[in-house]
């Protein structure tokens, strides 16, 4: 009996020891992030995680970072994420995040709230050069978190071939909602719809902005204001008439695809449309115009990413220096040339306009564009709004906006 017990005890001991070792190994991965300077990469190098739109962007960023490395003597490595959000989450949970990374406006609040981000905006030397609306996009609880790396706005994209074929001229480019409705009607024929756009707030929100509405104004949710109801009602009426349509209803994944396949003669898209058209539909000629004015004047939406810095980064000084290098006028113009984005700093705007005369409408939008509100949970509210907009055809705008309003009230304030 005794020997047997001893054998069992030995076996149990061996098992416990193995398990403990394994656990210790496992635990190490989790804890080393807590103590700074151990797991987050040593002082010598920086890691940069980007979500790239393609080779052009990857090459441009890699090149710029390499140039900075040479200048500063700090090694830096650029990694392209296959799923940026997931890889960032894993990095933060493991306590081993990249030092710098692309960060979207929607993701800002979540990471800022759990303390993953370093708020370095006020330390930037070129802080005052950024567009104020972009700074607002990366301000969470009154702190300017990160430097906007570039931005895009939405504009009206017109198919030149179909436009000319319908007998329309440059003078007919719509500047009001009524004109937009009438040219859309002219262009709607032979299986082509006048205006096609994605079924989401990220496109329809332009109409809300033009009507004088929006989601949040001065810290107060205004989703169910009369202006927004008017905007959605206008869109709904045009869709009922068949002159406006969701790209998804036309059988395309997004507005640009419907436009490129000539399922719609016009679309509402951002700067990225150039890349898509050049790659996928090189034969389609197009004009970029400012979106028409609504009852309250001009309005559009802007989208931007920033250079997020991890609070766990061990070499924040070098990281800040790299951000300043990457957001400098010269570097932003180089990025713009490489992959078509617009510089986030005002001092580069004039040069950009000269370089891209055909795309001036995009940068003109910077003056009146609205951004995504930065409250924790905004992304969910917008997802829910989008899911309801997908049923707008049979829906009641007031009812949809009331739901959005109550969802916003739950997260704002």
């Amino acid at each position: 009996m005794k020997r047997h017990t001893a054998a069992r005890a030995l076996a149990l001991g061996a098992f416990t020891a193995t398990a403990a070792l394994a656990l210790a190994g496992c635990g190490q991965g989790f804890d080393d992030g807590g103590s700074t300077g151990e797991g987050g990469g040593d002082d010598s190098g920086l890691t940069i995680l980007i979500g790239s739109s393609g080779d052009a962007e990857t090459d441009a960023v890699t090149e710029a970072v390499a140039a900075w490395s040479e200048e500063s003597g700090t090694p830096a490595e650029v990694t392209v994420a296959s799923d940026l959000n997931q890889q960032l989450s894993q990095g933060f949970a493991a306590g081993d995040p990249p030092d710098l990374f692309y960060l979207s406006t929607e993701a800002l609040a979540g990471y800022a709230a759990n303390g993953s981000l370093q708020a370095y905006g006020d330390d930037l030397e070129n802080k005052d050069d950024f567009y104020p609306s972009l700074v607002e996009n990366f301000t969470y609880e009154d702190q300017f978190y990160c430097a906007p790396k570039d931005f895009s706005t939405l504009a009206l994209i017109i198919n030149k071939g179909l436009w000319d074929a319908a007998g329309l001229t440059e003078a007919d480019i719509p500047t009001t909602w009524d004109e937009l409705a009438s040219v859309a009607q002219t262009l709607t024929k032979d299986g082509v719809v006048g205006l096609g756009y994605g079924w989401e707030w990220q496109r329809l929100g332009t109409f809300m902005a033009q009507a004088g509405g929006g989601l949040v104004e001065d810290g107060e949710p205004i989703a169910n204001s009369q202006e927004n109801v008017d905007a959605l009602t206008y869109v709904q009426d045009q869709m009922a008439a068949g002159t406006f349509a969701y790209a998804q209803d036309l059988g395309a994944g997004w507005g640009g695809e419907a436009f490129g396949k000539q399922l719609s003669a016009m679309t509402i898209e951002g700067n990225w449309i150039q890349g898509a058209m050049a790659n996928d539909y090189p034969d389609v000629e197009y004009i970029v115009a400012e979106l028409p004015e609504g009852p309250a004047g001009k309005g559009t939406l802007q989208f931007t990413n920033c250079w997020g810095m991890a609070a766990d980064s061990s070499n924040q000084e070098a990281a800040l220096d790299l951000v300043q290098y990457l957001t400098s006028t010269e570097q932003q113009l180089a990025f713009s040339q490489a992959f078509g984005v617009m510089p986030s700093i005002q001092s580069a705007a004039e040069q950009w306009k000269t370089d891209n005369p055909d795309l001036a409408a995009f940068i003109a939008g910077a003056d009146y564009a609205q951004g995504i509100p930065t409250y924790e949970g905004t992304a969910d509210v917008i997802t829910d709004f989008n899911s309801q907009l997908q049923g707008l055809k049979d829906g009641d705008p007031q009812q949809i906006l009331d739901t959005v309003q109550s969802n916003l009230e739950a997260i704002v304030g």
Partner: protein, 400 residues
């Protein structure tokens, strides 16, 4: 394994003799599996359980000092109230419930049907069909999803085929209308009675629970049936080949027609296989994720949102790790519950008196029908020497 070896010894001897040390050897041999399962399965599950009752925000270790225990708060926020989180969870449950209700019975029936087909002696080229039916199961679900998006494109092959027979196909993956609501609105009913629209469960009104799967979800349902029925066909096929032909012959001698032979003889013997198929089907259906992640991400109008995807979304995209883990554990609870329920429904029951009376044939009181006796016996593997037909069958199956 070790338990069965050591248990009798403990009472009999004091561990001396040639069997000494067996227990140790047993532990050593099983240790790798225990360690691997522990590290990669058991411990992560316990960690996730902790996360589901904590306020961990996704930064650093969930076991560090500044993470607090919040009780069932995360569970409450997804299951109670009228907020966005609760509504999303309710919608996801609604979608997945319809998915399960439609996929599980249909895939089981279809796979059984396919197994009967390729098991039959009449069909030519059985080997080819077995491979063909099984093929979708070995293809990656991501690849199938992409194929499906292409097939069900509004201008894609499916709608082109429907147009040939004069039907205007829907815009499959962009149509958020529930199929029952489509039928009802066809009959002129657009608004539900206030009893249904005013009350609900999990922040979703009964009227919306009754909407049925959306047209987009229906496409996923078709896909699930298409891809999984091949796997389950194999399970049924294995079970069918274990049933000797003599039982069928005995039933035929008793005058049972094909339908009766299937319901009264074959099906009861497939019960273990049926249990496996239903359990695997239920588990797979409640965990549907890849299709949603690659296909629609919950769109249109959240009608393809599933709890598994919602759990991912809450954690990785919104940094609400506690809620994400809570959803995963609720899902775990549902799966366990359904498996127990189904085990209870399919349990072995003694023949009821009513059923037994059917077999009491007044004309031949001495002998019970051979079919009934046979059907209650545990099926034995067919003996090649006695049943050349059966052996031939197996041989062909193995060759193809």
């Amino acid at each position: 394994m070790t338990a069965t070896v050591t248990a009798p010894r403990r009472g009999r001897t004091s561990g001396s003799g040639i069997r000494r040390g067996e227990a140790l050897a047993g532990w050593i041999f099983t240790a790798p599996v225990i360690v691997i399962l522990g590290i990669f399965l058991f411990i992560p599950v316990l960690m996730a359980l902790w996360v589901s009752v904590s306020d961990w925000g996704g930064r650093g270790s969930p076991f560090s000092g500044n993470v607090n225990f919040v009780g069932l708060e995360n569970y409450a926020s997804v299951t109670t109230g009228e907020g966005l989180t609760a509504r999303d969870f309710g919608t996801a449950m609604r979608n997945n419930t319809w998915y399960v209700i439609l996929v599980v019975p249909l895939q089981t029936a279809l796979s059984l049907f396919l197994a009967l087909l390729v098991n039959g002696a009449i069909l030519r080229g059985r080997g080819f069909f077995r491979t063909a039916f099984y093929f979708p199961s070995v293809t990656a679900s991501v690849a199938i999803t992409v194929l499906w998006l292409f097939l069900f494109n509004p201008r894609g092959p499916v709608n082109a085929f429907l147009a040939l027979v004069g039907i205007t196909g829907p815009n499959w993956f962009a149509d958020p209308r529930g199929i029952f609501h489509v039928v009802l609105s066809g009959l002129g009913v657009r608004e539900g009675p206030s009893v249904l629209t005013g009350n609900g469960f999990l922040a979703v009104s009964w009227w919306n629970w009754g909407a049925g799967p959306s047209i987009a979800m229906s496409a996923f349902i078709l896909m699930a049936i298409f891809t999984t029925s091949g796997t389950f066909m194999l399970l049924f096929l294995a079970a069918l080949q274990n049933i000797g032909p003599e039982i069928q012959e005995a039933a035929m001698v008793d005058g049972a027609n094909a339908w009766q032979r299937f319901w009264r003889v074959t099906l009861p013997q497939l019960k273990p296989a049926l249990f496996t198929v239903l359990t695997l089907g239920l588990i797979g259906c409640w965990q549907v994720f890849d299709q949603i992640y690659t296909g629609t991400k919950g769109q249109p109008a959240k009608t393809t949102l599933t709890p598994a995807y919602l759990s991912y979304d809450a954690g990785f995209l919104d940094q609400n790790w506690g809620q994400g883990a809570a959803i995963a554990f609720i899902l775990f609870g549902i799966i366990v519950l359904f498996t127990i329920l189904q085990r209870w429904v399919l349990r072995e029951r003694p023949v009821s008196r009513r059923r037994a009376r059917q077999y009491e044939l007044p004309a031949r009181p001495a002998t019970a029908s051979p079919a009934t006796i046979a059907s209650r016996q545990v099926p034995a593997p067919p003996d090649p020497a006695q049943t050349p037909g059966g052996a031939d069958d197996l041989g062909k199956g193995a060759r193809s």
